[in-house]
C-alpha cells in the first residue's frame, strides 16, 4: 500500500477547494475497509482461499457485507486473534501456522492462500509477508501463500482488491525476451464480462489477451516491456504502479462503464495495437448499438435528474461521467475516498465544470450538503440508504455497483437500470403519496 499512500496529498479538515477545484475532507468515513473485496475476489479466483488474520469485528464485517450466507463453507475465513495471542502467551506465528495447517487439511483443493492483514494484525505488527514465505516453504510447491493488507487503517473498500492484485503481480513470471506485444486487463471481472471482452478483442485482432485475476490463481500472465495494460477498474493505482515497475505500459483511458466509456477504453487498446478505424468500427458496432438502445430506455427517468455521490468505491467519477454523458443526469457532488488523477483524469475531464469534486469524507458535513442540495438521487453505502430515503432522497446502494456485472456494452443497460430503478419505484408507489 505504500505506493498509493505516497500518492495521497497531506490533508486537513475540510480544506476549501483550492486551485485543483477539489474539496478535501477528513472526518468520519462511512465506508467499508479493504477486507470487503474478499466477497467478490473469492468468487472470481476459484482455487484461492482468503484467510483474514484479525478480530471478531473483521469476521462480522465480511459476513455483514456479504449480506447472505449461501455457502456451507466459503473460501474465506478469519483467524480471530484472542487475548492469549496479544498477551504473548501464545506465539502468534506458531498459532497462525497451526490454523493454516488445520485449514489446508480440510481444504486440500486450495492452490493459493492469501493471508489478509487487518487493523489489529497491523497494529500488533504481525508480519504476514514473512509468514507467507514460511508457509509457502512448508506447504509448497502445490500451494502458494501470499499476503496483502485489507485493513481499514490502510485501505478503503476497493483498495483491498488493489492490494490483492498488487501481490499477484509480484508472482507473475517475466515475459520471454522475444515476446510479441500482449494485452493485460487488470481488475476482477465477472466471468461473463471477461468472455464478452475476449470476443471483442478477438474481433479486433488484438491478442494475446490475459486477465488479472484469472479464474485459476496459478495461471498468471507474463509481464514485461511488451505488456500493454488496460485497467478495468479505476481503483487499481498500486497494481498499475507494480505493473509499470515490471516494464509494462499502461494505456490511459476512461473506464469501461457505459457505451461511451467502453468505446473509449477499447479504442485505447486499438490504438496501441494499430487496429484500423474501419476494423474497430465494424467490430464494436453491433454491441455498441445494443448498448445504446438499452441505455436509452432509462434516459427519460434520469434526464436532468440531480445526482449526489457519497464516496465509496472510487468508481464515482466514472459513474458520474456515464450518468452525465449517456443519460443526461446532472452530477451535483462527486465524492470519492481517493482521487487518483493519473487514473481518473480522463473521467474528470468529461464531467461538467460546475460539479463539486470531493476527496475523502466527513460524513456529517456531507449529509448537511446533501440535505441542502436535495438531489433526486444519492449514491451511497448501505448504512446511509434508508436514513436518506426516510428524508425523502431516493438512493442507489453503491455496493451493488461492485457486486454486479456492470462493465462493457452488454451491461450498459443494466448499469443504467441500477440508477433508474429507485426513481421508477418511487413513481410506481402512487398509492403511498401523502
Amino acid at each position: 500500500m505504500s505506493a498509493s499512500l505516497a500518492l495521497r496529498r497531506p490533508d486537513a479538515n475540510a480544506q476549501p477547494p483550492g486551485a485543483s477545484g477539489v474539496l478535501r475532507e477528513r472526518g468520519q468515513r462511512e465506508v467499508f475497509c479493504g477486507l470487503t473485496g474478499i466477497v467478490w475476489l473469492h468468487r472470481k479466483i476459484q482455487d484461492a482461499f482468503f484467510l483474514v488474520v484479525g478480530s471478531r469485528t473483521c469476521a462480522h464485517l465480511i459476513q455483514s457485507a456479504a449480506g447472505v450466507m449461501i455457502f456451507a463453507e466459503p473460501r474465506f475465513a478469519t483467524a480471530i486473534l484472542e487475548e492469549r495471542d496479544l498477551a504473548g502467551m501464545a506465539d502468534a506465528n506458531a498459532e497462525l501456522d497451526r490454523v493454516v495447517g488445520d485449514l489446508l487439511a480440510r481444504r486440500p483443493d486450495i492452490r493459493t492462500l492469501f493471508l489478509v492483514g487487518s487493523c489489529p494484525s497491523e497494529v500488533i505488527k504481525l508480519d504476514l509477508s514473512r509468514a507467507a514465505q514460511r508457509l509457502t516453504a512448508q506447504h509448497g510447491p502445490g500451494l502458494r501463500v501470499l499476503s496483502y493488507s485489507g485493513s481499514g487503517i490502510e485501505t478503503t473498500f476497493t483498495q483491498g482488491e488493489d492490494a490483492c492484485l498488487a501481490a499477484l503481480v509480484a508472482e507473475c513470471p517475466p515475459e520471454a525476451p522475444d515476446a510479441a506485444p500482449s494485452l493485460l486487463i487488470a481488475g476482477a471481472l465477472p466471468d461473463i464480462v471477461e468472455d464478452q471482452f475476449h470476443r471483442l478483442f478477438d474481433a479486433l485482432g488484438i491478442g494475446p489477451v490475459a486477465f488479472l485475476p484469472g479464474r485459476r490463481s496459478h495461471a498468471l500472465p507474463a509481464i514485461g516491456p511488451q505488456t500493454r495494460v488496460l485497467l478495468a477498474q479505476p481503483f487499481l493505482g498500486d497494481t498499475a504502479l507494480r505493473l509499470e515497475d515490471r516494464g509494462a505500459r499502461r494505456l490511459a483511458a476512461p473506464f469501461p462503464f457505459g457505451v461511451e466509456g467502453t468505446t473509449a477504453w477499447l479504442e485505447a487498446a486499438a490504438l496501441a495495437f494499430g487496429v484500423s478505424p474501419q476494423r474497430f468500427a465494424g467490430a464494436v458496432a453491433p454491441a455498441q448499438q445494443r448498448g445504446r438502445q438499452a441505455v436509452a430506455a432509462h434516459r427519460a427517468l434520469l434526464q436532468d435528474r440531480r445526482v449526489f455521490f457519497f464516496p465509496d468505491s472510487q468508481l464515482e467519477p466514472s459513474l458520474a461521467r456515464f450518468l452525465h454523458e449517456e443519460l443526461g443526469a446532472i452530477p451535483v457532488e462527486v465524492a470519492s475516498p481517493y482521487l487518483n488523477r493519473d487514473l481518473v483524469g480522463p473521467e474528470l475531464e468529461r464531467l461538467p465544470a460546475e460539479v463539486r469534486l470531493v476527496e475523502g469524507q466527513d460524513v456529517e458535513r456531507q449529509l448537511d450538503r446533501c440535505r441542502a442540495d436535495r438531489p433526486d438521487l444519492a449514491v451511497c453505502g448501505l448504512g446511509l440508504a434508508n436514513p436518506l430515503e426516510a428524508q425523502g432522497v431516493a438512493t442507489k446502494w453503491s455496493i451493488e455497483l461492485v457486486f454486479s456485472p456492470v462493465h462493457g456494452f452488454e451491461q450498459a443497460g443494466d448499469l443504467a437500470a441500477l440508477f433508474s430503478r429507485p426513481l421508477a419505484r418511487r413513481a410506481r408507489l402512487k398509492g403511498l403519496a401523502a
Binding site: 472526518g27 468520519q28 468515513r29 470487503t36 471478531r56 469485528t57 456451507a72 480471530i80 486473534l81 430515503e389
Partner: protein
C-alpha cells in the same frame, strides 16, 4: 487464534451499539478505524431503521497511529456533542482502538462536558456482542440511576416509591432488556405491556428500547423489574436488586405455560389475583395443539439452537406444548450454558454449546431432525439439508423483522410460535392424503405441497448435496438393487431422502454391501419409533 467461518455474535462494541441505538437521546462515540462503520448497516438494512445509529466513529488511519489518535478522539467527541446535543454520552473503543490504549473515558473527562459521560470497557479479544450489550446497559444504568452520595439503598428507596401508599396506587414495573436488532423485541414489549396492564400492573419504563436518560434515572421508582431478555438485562437487574432492593421477575413468558407462570409470579409479587387473567383463554395454542389435525405433529423430530435462554424456553414449548420430540438443544453463548444443560437433562438429550457453525451443521446432519428451530445460520444449514426451519432467536435477517405484529412472548406470542413452527411442516391432513394418493397419476410427487405454491421446490429438488465438511459421503451407503430402488421411489418424496439415508446408515452399520428390498424394510422397522 481461532478459525471462524461465520459468526453468531459480533464483537462487544456491536452490543454497545444495540443499546445506544435503542436509547433515545444518548450518543455513542466509538474510537475505531475506517471500516467499523459497517455496523450501521445492520441497523439500517436488517432492521430497516430510518435513522443512522447514534454513533460517531473516530476513523483513525495508519498515519495517525502514534501521533494524534487521542486528539482525533477528543475532536470527534466534542463535535458529536455539539452537533447532536445528547443527554448523555457513551464512549468506548473497538478492537483496534483497544490495542492503542487511548483511554476514551479519561479523554472524555478531560473535555469537561456538561452531560454525563459513560465509559464502557469492551474487551474485544475475550468477549462478544451479548456481553457488550449487557455491560453497556449496566454501565448506563449504574451511572444514571446511581444512589445519591452517601444515601443507603433503604433510605433512597423509601425516598422514592416506598413512601407512597402501596394500596392506593397500581404496582409499577420496568421492562428490561429490549434493544435495537433484538429478535421481535418491538412486539414483545407491546404484548407484555398489555398483559401486565390486564393484571393491573403499570409499566413505568422500558429500557433500553426507547428510554431517555431521564427514564433511566427513574428506573428505581418502580416496584419491580421484569427481566425480558436475560442475556442483556440480567446484570442490570441484579444490580438494581442489590442497590435499590428492587425484586426481579425472571420467568420467561414464552409459550402458554411460561406466560401463565409469569403471570402467577407477578401476581404473587404484587399481591394481585391472577385468576381473572388466567381464566381467560389467552392463547389459541392449546386448542390448536389438541385439535385432531395436529396429530401429525406428534413426535416430529426437532432440533433447537439459538441464544441460550430463548433456546431453552423454546425447547420446553416444543416438547410440552407442541408434542414434538426434541432431539437436540444448544446455544452459541456460553454465558448461560447452565440453562441449556438444564433443559437438555430434562429432555434427555445432549446439550450443544458451541459458536462453531460447522459443528452445528454436523450435529444437525447427524441428528436428521424434521424441523430446525434456530437462528438465521440454522436456516441456511436447514435449507442445504432440505429440512424445514423456523427462526426463533437472534441473529436474524431482514425477513425476520416483519411488518406485521408478531411477538414471541405472551399469549399472542404463543399463537405466533404455533403458526411459525408448523408452517415449514406439511399440514396434517395434507400429509395423510399425500400418503394415501401417492400412486394416483394426478397426485404424484411432482405435484408438491399445495401451500408452497405451484413452484414447490421439493418436487424438483435433487437429493441434498454432500457437505463440504464431509458428513455425508455418497459412496458409503452401499449399492441399491433395482427392486429396492423402485420401492424407495414409492415413498413420498418429502420423507424419501430420510428413508434413503436411514437405510444406507443401517446397511453400513451391518456391513451390507448391497441394499435389497428386505434391507429397506428392516431399516424401516429399526428406525420405527413409538409415538
Amino acid at each position: 487464534m481461532k478459525l471462524a467461518v461465520w459468526t453468531y455474535e459480533g464483537p462487544p462494541h456491536v452490543g454497545a451499539m444495540r443499546v445506544a441505538t435503542a436509547l433515545d437521546g444518548v450518543h455513542f462515540v466509538l474510537h475505531a478505524p475506517q471500516g467499523d462503520t459497517y455496523a450501521d448497516l445492520l441497523f439500517t438494512m436488517i432492521e430497516r431503521r430510518d435513522h443512522r445509529p447514534p454513533v460517531t466513529y473516530t476513523t483513525f488511519q495508519a498515519r495517525d497511529l502514534g501521533t494524534d489518535t487521542a486528539e482525533i478522539f477528543k475532536r470527534a467527541a466534542a463535535d458529536a456533542v455539539a452537533r447532536f446535543a445528547p443527554d448523555a454520552l457513551i464512549v468506548g473503543a473497538s478492537c483496534t482502538a483497544e490495542l492503542i490504549q487511548d483511554d476514551p473515558g479519561g479523554l472524555t473527562r478531560a473535555l469537561g462536558l456538561s452531560i454525563p459521560a459513560i465509559p464502557v470497557e469492551l474487551p474485544s479479544y475475550q468477549k462478544k456482542e451479548h456481553w457488550g450489550a449487557s455491560e453497556t446497559f449496566y454501565q448506563v444504568v449504574r451511572k444514571l440511576a446511581a444512589p445519591a452520595d452517601g444515601a443507603g439503598a433503604d433510605e433512597t428507596r423509601t425516598g422514592k416509591a416506598g413512601t407512597k401508599d402501596a394500596a392506593a396506587r397500581r404496582p409499577t414495573c420496568n421492562l428490561l432488556g429490549p434493544t435495537a436488532l433484538g429478535f421481535r423485541h418491538r412486539d414483545d414489549v407491546t404484548e407484555i405491556t398489555r398483559l401486565l396492564e390486564s393484571l393491573g400492573v403499570e409499566v413505568a419504563v422500558v429500557a433500553p428500547l426507547g428510554a431517555k436518560a431521564a427514564d433511566i434515572a427513574r428506573l428505581p421508582d418502580a416496584d419491580f423489574n421484569v427481566v425480558l431478555y436475560p442475556e442483556i438485562a440480567e446484570t442490570t437487574a441484579a444490580w438494581l436488586e442489590r442497590t435499590w432492593r428492587q425484586p426481579a421477575v425472571r420467568t420467561q413468558p414464552l409459550g402458554v405455560a411460561g406466560t401463565r407462570a409469569f403471570i402467577a409470579e407477578v401476581a404473587a409479587l404484587c399481591g394481585l389475583d391472577p385468576e381473572p387473567v388466567l381464566a381467560r383463554e389467552g392463547s389459541r395454542l392449546p386448542w390448536w395443539s389438541r385439535s385432531v389435525d395436529s396429530n401429525y405433529l406428534t413426535g416430529k423430530r426437532v432440533f433447537v439452537f439459538g441464544e441460550a435462554n430463548r433456546a431453552a424456553a423454546v425447547a420446553r414449548v416444543a416438547a410440552h406444548e407442541m408434542g414434538f420430540e426434541v432431539v437436540g438443544v444448544g446455544a452459541y453463548n456460553r454465558e448461560f450454558a447452565r440453562e441449556i444443560r438444564a433443559v437438555a437433562a430434562e429432555l434427555g438429550v445432549e446439550p450443544l454449546l458451541t459458536d462453531d457453525y460447522l459443528e452445528v451443521e454436523r450435529t444437525i446432519a447427524a441428528l436428521q431432525p424434521e424441523l430446525v428451530l434456530g437462528t438465521q445460520m440454522e436456516r441456511h444449514i436447514a435449507k442445504r439439508l432440505r429440512i424445514g426451519c423456523a427462526v426463533i432467536s437472534s441473529p436474524a435477517h431482514v425477513q425476520d423483522y416483519p411488518a406485521r405484529y408478531a411477538p414471541q412472548l405472551g399469549f399472542e406470542g404463543a399463537n405466533v410460535l404455533f403458526d411459525t413452527w408448523v408452517h415449514p411442516l406439511a399440514m396434517g391432513l395434507e400429509e395423510h392424503l399425500l400418503a394415501m394418493f401417492r400412486e394416483d397419476f394426478e397426485f404424484n410427487d411432482a405435484a408438491g405441497l399445495s401451500h408452497l405454491g405451484a413452484a414447490a421446490p421439493a418436487a424438483t429438488a435433487p437429493e441434498p448435496a454432500p457437505l463440504a465438511s464431509g458428513t455425508t459421503d455418497p459412496a458409503s451407503g452401499g449399492r441399491w438393487t433395482p427392486e429396492a430402488e423402485a420401492e424407495l421411489a414409492k415413498i413420498p418424496f418429502f420423507v424419501r431422502g430420510k428413508a434413503r439415508r436411514n437405510t444406507e446408515a443401517f446397511a453400513t452399520a451391518r456391513g451390507l454391501a448391497l441394499i435389497e428390498l428386505d434391507t429397506l424394510y428392516d431399516a424401516r422397522s429399526h428406525y420405527a419409533r413409538s409415538h
